[in-house]
């Protein structure tokens, strides 16, 4: 079985498991009384944010490794992870306002967390655009690596922005020093969704990386 085919199967399984998460979120997870069903957007929005940040974190690490080792496999991986991260970042940015509208009364507000997240999306887009406009592969990989490292540097600021600034955005539920601040059924559904989104991330990256190595896309 080729690498691309393995990635495709992981993606298919991930999409089927996403349907399972949807059913569990709707039928077997308690309703939050003050927000209604909109609270269940959390089971898509938060794991999408996790996958986007995982993607950018790995873009940054692969970029550092590329600059030190000059091994083009790291550059190809960074390119694959950046493209997939853009997809998850788009989901995060589209589902967030759909939760904010009924709960905050506005689609968007320029607070620290939201603005920094939008910057992350622009870094993802900028990374792809940069790769598209530089024809010389060694130069393209070098410049893209610098942008990837900038994205990595942004990640702790995004995560900690809810502590450092006054913001409407809720504080972390799981990724925090104390125990999760939600009922166990909600935490289980959220953790399942984290697993599914991570599987989808891996499946997509494996496929995209295989396209890069087989020369089907301009890595």
């Amino acid at each position: 079985m080729t690498t691309g085919r393995i990635g495709r199967w992981m993606t298919v399984i991930g999409l089927l498991l996403l349907a399972v998460v949807y059913v569990r979120a709707l039928k077997f997870t308690p309703l939050e009384a003050s927000q209604g069903l909109a609270q269940k957007i959390f089971y898509v929005h938060v794991p999408a944010a996790w996958s986007a940040m995982l993607a950018m974190g790995l873009v940054g690490l692969a970029s550092i490794l590329f600059l030190f080792l000059r091994d083009e496999r790291y550059d190809r991986f960074a390119a694959a992870s950046a493209e997939v991260g853009t997809v998850f970042c788009l989901i995060m940015l589209m589902t967030g306002p759909l939760w904010a509208r009924p709960v905050w009364g506005t689609w968007w507000t320029w607070d620290a967390r939201l603005t920094l997240t939008l910057m992350l999306f622009f870094i993802f887009i900028g990374y792809q655009l940069l790769r598209g406009v530089i024809p010389e592969s060694a130069l393209r990989a070098q410049y893209a690596a610098v942008v990837g490292i900038c994205g990595l540097v942004l990640l702790p600021f995004i995560h900690l922005s809810v502590y450092f600034f006054r913001t409407l955005h809720p504080q972390p539920i799981i990724l925090k020093p104390s125990a999760p601040s939600a009922p166990p059924e909600m935490v289980t559904t959220l953790l399942m969704s984290f697993g599914v989104f991570t599987l989808l991330y891996i499946g997509f990256v494996v496929q995209r990386y295989a396209l890069g190595t087989e020369g089907r896309v301009d890595a």
Binding site: G4, G7, R8, T11, V12, L15, L18, Y22, L31, A33, S34, Q35, G36, L37, A38, Q39, K40, I41, V44, H45, A48, V84, V87, L90, I91, M94, T95, L98, W99, R101, P102, V103, L200, F204, Q207, R208, A210, L211, E214, R216, V217
Partner: protein, 37 residues
């Protein structure tokens, strides 16, 4: 605790559809790119 639960189901449905469409759409794009050559 509010007396009645807010009717916000349409936002949830929209968010779930958006996520599914983007993920399935990207999976199809990758599969087509692999098949193209």
């Amino acid at each position: 605790m509010p007396d009645t639960v807010p009717q916000t189901g349409s936002y949830m449905v929209a968010a779930y559809i958006v996520a599914a469409v983007i993920l399935v759409g990207y999976a199809i794009v990758l599969a087509r790119r692999a098949r193209r050559s």
